[in-house]
Amino acid sequence: MRLAFILSEIGSGLRRNLSMVVSVILVTFVSLTFVGAAGMLQMQINQMKGYWYDKVQVAIFLCSEGSTAAGCAGGPVTPEQQESLNGLLESPAVAQYINDFQYESKEEAYKHFKDQFSNSPIVDSVTPDQLPASFRINLKDPEKYQIISETFSSQPGVETVIDQRQLLERLFSVMNGASLVAVSIAGVMIVCAILLIATTIRLSAFSRRRETGIMRLVGASKTVIQLPFILEGVIAAVIGAALASGTLWAVAHFFLGEYMSRQYPDTAFISSGQTLILAPALLILGGSLAGISSLLTLRRYLRV
């Protein structure tokens, strides 16, 4: 009976305060979407780290036509130079740091390039000649990059040694920055959400002061009086959180899954399923924000 009563009170509260409830839903929706976006960026970073750190670590680019580096004074790399580099990679001194390595010819480089930028007009303006051949090295310990760099930079036929992990790190730091921005926006929006929930609950308590006054007089418990108001805020916030979770899922499914992964086929994007891990966190965050903020408000505005 009491549960049915509380539920009907919540229903009437939500109806009476509809415009405020809608604004609470929207504000929690937007703020939690930013929280979730920050979470997604972190997940994406971890995903790419896992994917890329295994695959590429160090690339030794070999001289080609028109290379201007000091080591390329003798023109494009010769088969002998390439052979001796291969030997050096297999020598015990170097091999102890290496998991495995691969030679990537100009043609293979061109093919990878074409795959990677298949939708971009840049592909048409590039020929296999312009792309350097390289050795792709997978290190046992990525931190040992310096040793490889020192060993190979001065070898004849080597244009440059690049730690691709560093390139990735730069990308990751951009992504980290973006997730920081998202978190800051989320922080401001969450403050908005808390204040708005407090105002909504206050208005709701005011518009129903007649009922609560009578409830007090006939000896309704604090729980029966306050719970409908608290749940009103919590329900609105949870709806906002559900919308935010849905939006994140849609972004992962349609934007990352359908569009981005076609644009960048060899980049591992997070799947829409993975974003669902965020949903419970967002629902709990939204619900508890609303619960706490309405509890504090009621303590001041709804005397029992």
Binding site: M1, F5, R210, I214, M215, L217, V218, G219, A220, V304
Partner: protein
């Protein structure tokens, strides 16, 4: 002493209530007992402290000093989570009825039972019964705005007594009603009192008080200036001191209406 505590439904011991430090106290050292089953009028000019008295009984406010006992319990000692239980034992009626405008008569009365968790079937049985005692049978489905003032007050009384409280507090319940309607309301309050409920009614309606011939406690500027059994609105005898229960207007000592064995030795209480 202990038996007196048990007999008194409401007991004020040197109760002072100060709302505003700069103003005079709303109640000034009031000592008063109202017995189980008694019917008492609280009279006095506006601002004399009648409503404050009732609020202290309900623990809507706390006394600045002194002690308020309800059914033998010092209300200052009741923890906040047990205040609802105190209030379930007290019904309240106001001058402005305080009905919920969007609920019909039945729902207004049922509301008082719903919020304390009474079952649907108990509500279905009890509400019509109580509506009958206040003379509203057949009007269950009317909305408050479809009722006269007297009928609205009957709904409010039904709501106040539907949970069978031991005490009914009425704060100027006839203040908005014409004399005939008021007498009807008084009849209902009297009937409720006959059934054993202690009734305290604040009023400044002299006709009603004179008609009912019940105990009259008169307040003036927060001080009890008269306390007479079977009295009239204005005293027949000169005012003597305060906080004193005087002989009734006829000069005879009268036992109070009350529960069996609840009779009083005499009018003089202190």
């Amino acid at each position: 002493m202990p038996c007196r505590v048990l007999r008194a439904m409401i007991r004020f011991e040197n109760v002072t209530k100060v709302y505003d430090q700069k103003a005079r106290p709303a109640l000034d050292s009031v000592t008063l007992e109202i017995d189980r089953g008694e019917f008492a009028f609280l009279v006095g000019a506006s601002g004399s402290g009648k409503s404050t008295f009732l609020r202290l009984v309900l623990k809507e406010d706390r006394a600045t000093s002194g002690a308020v006992y309800v059914a033998g319990q010092n209300v200052a000692r009741i923890s906040s989570w047990r205040v609802p239980r105190l209030r379930r034992g007290i019904g309240v009626v106001f001058q402005d009825f305080r009905l919920l405008p969007q609920k019909n008569v039945f729902a207004n009365v049922a509301f008082a039972m719903q919020v304390i968790g009474k079952s649907r079937s108990v509500i279905r049985d009890t509400v019509p019964e109580v509506l009958k005692t206040v003379g509203l049978e057949g009007k269950e489905h009317r909305m408050p705005h479809e009722l006269s003032g007297g009928e609205q007050q009957r709904v409010a009384i039904a709501r106040a007594v539907v949970n069978r409280p031991g005490i009914l507090l009425a704060d100027e319940p006839t203040g908005n009603l014409d004399p005939t309607t008021s007498m009807g309301i008084m009849g209902i309050l009297d009937k409720i009192n006959q059934n054993g409920t202690t009734v305290v009614m604040a009023t400044h309606d002299d006709d009603i008080v004179n008609e009912m011939r019940k105990r009259v406690v008169e307040l003036k500027n927060g001080v009890v200036i008269r306390d007479e059994a079977k009295a009239l609105y204005t005293s027949m005898i000169p005012v003597v001191g305060q906080s004193r229960r005087l002989k009734d207007a006829s000069g005879r000592e009268e036992p109070d209406a009350g529960l069996p064995g609840d009779g009083r030795e005499g009018g003089a209480q202190r």
